[in-house]
Structures are given as C-alpha cells and as structure tokens.
Symmetry: C3
Subunit: 265 residues, 3 copies
C-alpha cells in the first residue's frame, strides 16, 4: 500500500483531520495513512521544519509526506510537491511553499519540485481557508496512486527557505547555541549537533552552561545520571540536549524555547 503521512497544526478536536483523510481515501482507496502529529504549535513553521528530518528518512522510499502549517492559506503563497532524493531512494513532500520543508530539504542529495497549479487534481472549487482538504490531500493521493510530478504544475526551482540560527564559536574555543525544541518529557534539545561538537573538539570534555546550571560531560543514557539529576546527552536526533533523569528538565530548570546555552571546554 502507498504510504501517506500527515503533519499539521490542526489539533485533535475538530473535523479537519478527518475530512482530509476522507479526501485521501476517496482519491486513492488503499492507503497506509499515518498521523505524525496534529499538535504542532499553531502556525509555527520553525517547529514543523525541525520535526521533519526526524520523521521523513525513517519511511520507505516512495512515501508521501503531507505537511500543513499554513498561515498564508488563500494568499498568493504557492502550494507544491517536492521529490527529495536520499541515498536509499526518494521521498515526496506536499504542502505550502512557506519554508516548512527547509531542514529536511537540506538533508537531501537533490530535489525536484513543482508548483500546484492544475485544478484537475483538486476538489473544486477549493475553499480559500482549507487547502489541506481541497488541494494538498487530493494532490498527495493522486501522487501516491501514481500521477507523475510534472502533471501537477510547472517547475518550482526556488522553494522558500527559513533561516535558522546556527551555533557560533566563542573566543575561548567553545560554542554558543540555543534551545530549539522541548519534547513531551521536558527534554530540551539544542541546535548544537554531535558533528559540531566533534568539529570543535568539544565532545570528550565539555561543560554545558544554561541559565544557572553547569553540567559536566556528555552522558550516553538518561540512566547514567542519578534520579532527579540534570544531565547533558546526545539525543536520538544527534543533537545535544539537557534532561533530568526521571524528571522534566524544562519545568524543573525553567528552560524555554530559544534560551541560549554555552559549551565550554
């Protein structure tokens, strides 16, 4: 069965997600539909962009990923379909051209994209406020059922990209960065990757400073810390995170999104 995943800020209370799935199944009856999340913070393109590289590459080649975080719906922002080429094959992305694909696009070897201009693949007339249901869902289902990329519209060579703050070196040979996401457990994930730490020779012996906390060294697992103790480790996405063993670091340490942290030798 073709796979279509859904990532939105639609929440779980309303009819929006259910309507999209009905349209998917009406166009392409035998689908594996997977919910990634519908609880992205409303209209938060950055959080959506950061999530996708932790999802898309784990799906089989050929899978289709619909992402709808769309504050500009109904304006002249373009809709698009994009093929991302990875070493093990292509994945497909469908959604607004508003930068939501920035990070996962950077991970791909190459890409090809088209703007969605062909109404014969839409529900018509499309609502001006719900392109998820009326444009992105039917386009994704046609794609999953075999329609070629070029059929959906003309080439889109310059997908919009968001700018993300990158970690910066300090005068003393360390790095500064900030907290990009806080997960369900309260683990605070930074924008400093294991590759950054390795490149600056910081991975083996380092001190993490965040707020009033100083954490020595990078642990391998949560269970290496004492229960209730704060720790730094490399999370499952390959980024430095601050956590509390058996606890919620964001709440206990008062960490919020965007807070700076410094890595020193």
């Amino acid at each position: 069965m073709p796979i279509i995943t859904l990532t939105t800020d639609f929440g779980l209370h309303d009819a929006y997600v259910g309507a999209m799935k009905g349209v998917l199944l009406s166009v392409c009856p035998d689908l594996q539909i997977v919910d990634i999340t519908h609880l992205l913070p409303p209209q938060d393109l950055q959080t959506a962009a950061l999530l996708l590289p932790d999802v898309v590459p784990y799906y089989p080649a050929g899978s289709v990923h619909v992402v709808v975080v769309d504050p500009g719906v109904g304006s002249d922002r373009r809709g698009m379909v994009m093929r991302l080429d990875f070493a093990d094959g292509p994945r497909w992305l469908v959604g607004p051209d508003n930068g939501v694909f920035t990070v996962v696009l950077d991970r791909a070897q190459s890409f090809d994209a088209v703007a969605l201009t062909e109404p014969r693949f839409w529900r018509n007339p499309p609502s001006s406020t719900f392109h998820g249901r009326d444009i992105f869902a039917p386009v994704a289902a046609h794609l999953a059922c075999g329609v070629e990329l070029g059929a959906f519209g003309p080439s889109l060579a310059d997908p919009l990209r968001l700018a993300f703050a990158m970690p910066q070196p300090t005068p003393t040979g360390g790095l500064t960065g900030n907290i990009l996401t806080i997960d369900h457990f309260g683990n605070c994930v930074s924008n400093i990757s294991v590759a950054d730490l390795t490149a600056y020779g910081l991975l083996e012996t380092l001190t993490v400073k965040i707020g009033t906390q100083q954490l020595q060294g990078v642990l391998r697992t949560y269970s290496e810390a004492a229960s209730g103790a704060a720790l730094a480790l490399i999370g499952s996405s390959g980024y430095l995170e601050v956590a509390i063993r058996d606890g919620n670091a964001a709440q206990v340490l008062g960490i919020s999104r965007g807070m700076p942290l410094t890595i020193e030798r």
Copy 2:
C-alpha cells in the same frame, strides 16, 4: 478495504479506543480504521452532531462511521445502524439513537435505519457501560464485512433528533445567531450559513456584532486581514466565523460557545 471511522468522547489516555479497534479487527480483519476524534467534550451530543456533516460526506460511498457519545448507555435508549443516501451514494452510521446524527441526517436525501436487537452480532454478554466495544464496534465490523442492514434488527423509522437554535431575522433586516463551536485555532464558528446570508441579501455588505466587537465585511481568507486583526469570514464548512489573523479569537475577544452575534447591513 472497507473504511470504518471512529468519533467518540473517550479521550486518548485509556484503553477504550484500543479495545474497540481490537474488536473491529477481530470481526473484520482487513479494515481501514480512521480516527476522526476522541476528544469530543464528554457526553456533548450537540458538538458531536455538528461535527459529522464536516466529516461523513468526504468519505467514499459505502464507508461506515461509528459515533459513540453515549450518556444513556445501558438505559433503554436504542442502538442503531442508519444508511444515509447522498447524491454520490450511501454512507453508514452506527451508534446510539440519542440525536447525535441529527445534522448529518438532515443533509441526506433519504435514509433507512434499524434498531440493534440481534445479539448474534455483539460480544456477549455485553457490558452495561461500554456498548462501544461490545455492540457498536462488532456491528460496524459485520456491516463493513457485508452483513445486510435488515439483519441487525427491526426498522427504526423515527430516529431521535436534537433541536438546534436557528438564526432569526431582526426587525432591521439583519440576522441574529450564536457561536456553535470554537475550533483548535480559536476560530469561532456561528450557526449562520452562507446560504442564510445570501437569502437575506446580507453577504455583500454587512457588519458583524459580537460582544463589543464590530467587524465590517466578510473576508475571503485569513491572510487578507492584518496580523492580529479580527475578521469575519465564511469558513470551510460554509458558516460565518469570527477569527483573528495569526491569533486565537476565542481567547483574545473573550468569545465562548453559545455567545450571540448579530449581522446587520
């Protein structure tokens, strides 16, 4: 694969939804099971009834929709299966006969329904508090796998219907209505439809009064307003709603369910 959707007030923490799906798959192994929502306000028949017309018609003909909001479970309220006939084919509804299907039933061209009285299609003996698992799920799965409507019980000609407040004309040629639902984004959806506005000649030039707000005109998209500005538009269900561009109208404007609004020329 036959499609069965689930709409309940069971929440997402407990075993209830998982148990229902196990029963579905035990009766009819190859199903497309779709969650619409499990976060309806507990025992809120009106919200459930208003959701269904935004979901059911988007699914393919033949799809089965199970709805369990069931404060009277175990009492003498009837269970039922209903076939709704639409221009593009039938959809099936399974759940308690407590009015939860009122609005979607009004949208259908015709219907046929039976009361659930045949225990051979149930888990036996059924729990007196969880008919979702023991009666509605197995009945829906048998239906999806091909059992005929008449096999489940005798005809039920008079399904219970809820009364909904309709918009009322004002002495000055306007309309009064109220807010029926508030969605995940804080958009406040009224009971005044685009058809009502057209019938009263109000669509082109109108003022919406709600609380202390006065909004001039109906916009086509959220993005036509300035960021942070309040606006009125016709939402994706065809009803007038009050929103804030890039914001939460219910929170910012202090709007709650049931609040009246007035449309004037």
Copy 3:
C-alpha cells in the same frame, strides 16, 4: 494484514511515534498499525501494566503489541519478545523487561519469552536513548512478518514483575482496596474486582466508603443514578469504580490515584 499496536508515554507532539511507524513500515510494508495510547504518564510502569489487559485480549490471535515505557533505556535492563498463550490463541508482546507486562502476563495460561540480543533485527547502531525506534519497532515488524521467536535471542524465563497492592479483608468481613486509575471521564477504578466481591459475599448488599462519601449498593449502569449523583458500579473491565452520573467523580469528590476505599456489608 499483520496487526501491530503501539502503547507508549511518548506524547503526541514530537517525532518519536512517527519515526517508530516509519521503521515498522520499512521492515514489514503491509501492516495494520494501531495506536492504543501515547499519553501514558511519563515513565509510569504501573499505569501501563494496568492498561494492557483491557487491550491485548480484544485483538485477534497473532497480533503484536509494542509497549515502550522505558525509564531504563540504555542501561542493562533487557529488551524482550514474549508470546502469551490465551484460550483463543497467542498474542505477542515486545518491549523492555521492566515489569510493564506484569498484569497481562498474569492473565495468560502460559508464556514463552526471549531477550533481544540479535542486532541483525535492529537498526544499527541503535541510539542509546530511543530503543523504541531502533530495537523494539524493527523487532516487532520482523515478528509480524514471520520471524520465529527463537531468532531474536536466548530464552528469558524470569520476566520482571511489578508488585501490585491486592485488596485486603477487614475484621468485619469487608474489603479494603485503593483507586488504581482515573479515566478520561473522571471515573475512579479500584483494585477490587467483581470476583473479589463475589468471593467475600459482598456483591449484593454493600456500602462503599471513600473519603467522606458513602455509596449504597452497586448499580448496573450510570443511567440508573440521578444526574449529578455519585454511584458505585462494576466497570467494563470487571472492577468496582466510583463515578458521577453526567459528571467527573475525581474532580467533584476529590479522588486521586492511590486513595483507599472500603467495602462494607
């Protein structure tokens, strides 16, 4: 299609669940994937253990149930696959050997289990903090697609079991117990089963004392009480629970997990 269910404390905001499903589908393409819940209280093994017997037996024989509540991830706690034998056939469990399967294991007639030591069925190298994605998901998918139990590792004869408080007899012929779980509706489910009440001859005429409340008799359905009244009944899992008709008993009566209750004649 083989069935794999997922029960975790991962929440619904992050990429974790989506990544696991991608791995499942990459290993075994045609699956029926079912979410039981991802909202278990973080790292709460007891709540997870109590949920499973209300889920697993309702699924068809042969179904695979992945459970990831895993505070000890990356430590020397073992991973495992377990076959549980029920009267109507086997079910399979995959997850950490930390006691999370205690209660459903007690309901089975017999079992066989192995420790997960064979990396050829994992994503390699596995993250030290996310075995759900890198070990449990691929093992479950291989199992669902036909790999034999013995291939995953050596026999594990002594799965870890949690101790649960059992109801105790009182000097006057009653029983004391406590509240184990509070569901989405605020119904407060105790550890006293209908079998306990029958064994002590308490089922027909009893008084339930909890906090300052005294409830006479066991009702059959919520609808037998007046709206807003407190009541005791036997819930759909076969345990005594305290509820409020059309209301939230935990909130209104101030009941929390662990609170003691006493059954008297």
